[in-house]
Assembly symmetry: C2
Homo-oligomer: 224 residues x 2
């Protein structure tokens, strides 16, 4: 479960992110229309041929394993496969987090057909997935420490409609290596009547402070 | 959030599922290699052109909204966009559930690069997503009643490695319309040392028993 140190300039990392995130946007759209499409058998066959040709072009020299989490000597980290924030993961909306001056971490994201559970509504487990990630990042205190999820409790108060949703998370309590975070998800910006409320206990693992063989210390963040 | 009654023979539903699930398998592979690929800029451009052509072919007459949840007069239901079990959702592994004679609901699924959180490990929120769904289905008692998630508590005991994982869920207690379900996820078939343990309170909503304008009653299941 180690972070990988890479001797790569930040500008190269960011050029790669621009290149691959454009493809990922295209794949995300394909995932969406694969759910919503009404094509006949002949057209589905044409689509399949195109998709297989595209995948074959990427598969020939693809890395054997998952993307992992990487960092360079300048404190830049990247986790391109991450289910929630990975810029090369077509399922990740992707979520982008904003740290407010009030120490509340917020995110606004639009959830379409791929996130459905009850008809027209966000799958309850998707709310759990997104909130878990936002809360872990919140516990990391602007990436100044590493955290792992200990326990997570979700209270489902009403269905969350598909479409634009907001999330917010904040640290409610800290005791030693234990950080309690609260959060909500709602279509409303102020979260006056959240659809799901969450409370989580996040832990700073003792090994997170250990050295890494001479490489720069990996950046803080959530191990979600 | 209504279920949609469709006057469609079950054999037509199943033919459609076969057609679209093959495309979905292809798209799922594309999502995976979009994360793992190491192609250069020129090859990524060729892949993008193919993916855009494929998506355009589907978009031209795609349904405007999400897939929804449908059922026919023969008790067959389908929720093709569902994030966990939808056969047209390329993010859904898809999870398939097995009801055991011992009333334990089990699932075995392989989670690859798209489900990553910590390096090489399943995103904690993905475990929450999959367990929420399995537990909701467990609460539905073989689809004999509808349930919604009330609260869900997850205890993260150790990281879940990417690769093959097992899940199991069972009803621990029932009181009126409240059903308590417990579950775990682990690489081991017997769950002796689960990676994540979960407990959830599921509710049978009072409206679930109401009539549907003369159509056959929608099938039971989890509104997740």
């Amino acid at each position: 479960m180690a972070f990988s140190f890479e001797d790569v300039p930040t500008e190269d990392v960011e050029a790669d992110e621009r290149l691959w995130s454009r493809l990922t946007d295209d794949v995300r759209r394909l995932v969406d229309v694969t759910i919503r499409g009404r094509a006949d058998e002949e057209r589905v066959a044409r689509v399949r041929a195109l998709v297989r040709e595209a995948a074959d072009l990427l598969a020939e020299d693809a890395a054997p394993g998952p993307a992992g989490v990487h960092y360079n000597a300048h404190g830049r980290s990247w986790n391109w496969g991450n289910t929630v924030v990975g810029v090369r993961n077509a399922f990740a909306p992707p979520v982008r987090l904003e740290w407010g001056d009030d120490d509340v971490v917020r995110s606004a994201v639009t959830l379409g057909a791929a996130y459905e559970g009850p008809p027209g509504c966000v799958h309850g487990g998707v709310s759990a997935l997104l909130l878990d990630h936002l809360m872990g990042e919140t516990a990391s205190a602007r990436h100044t420490r590493l955290t792992v999820t200990g326990t997570l409790t979700l209270r489902y108060e009403r269905p969350t409609p598909l479409g634009p949703v907001r999330m917010a998370g904040w640290i409610a309590e800290e005791q030693g290596r234990k950080v309690t975070v609260e959060a909500w998800i709602s279509p409303d910006a102020d979260g006056a009547e959240p659809c799901v409320r969450a409370s989580g206990l996040f832990i700073v693992p003792s090994w997170a402070a250990e050295s890494d063989g001479g490489n720069p210390a990996p950046p803080g963040g959530s191990l979600d």
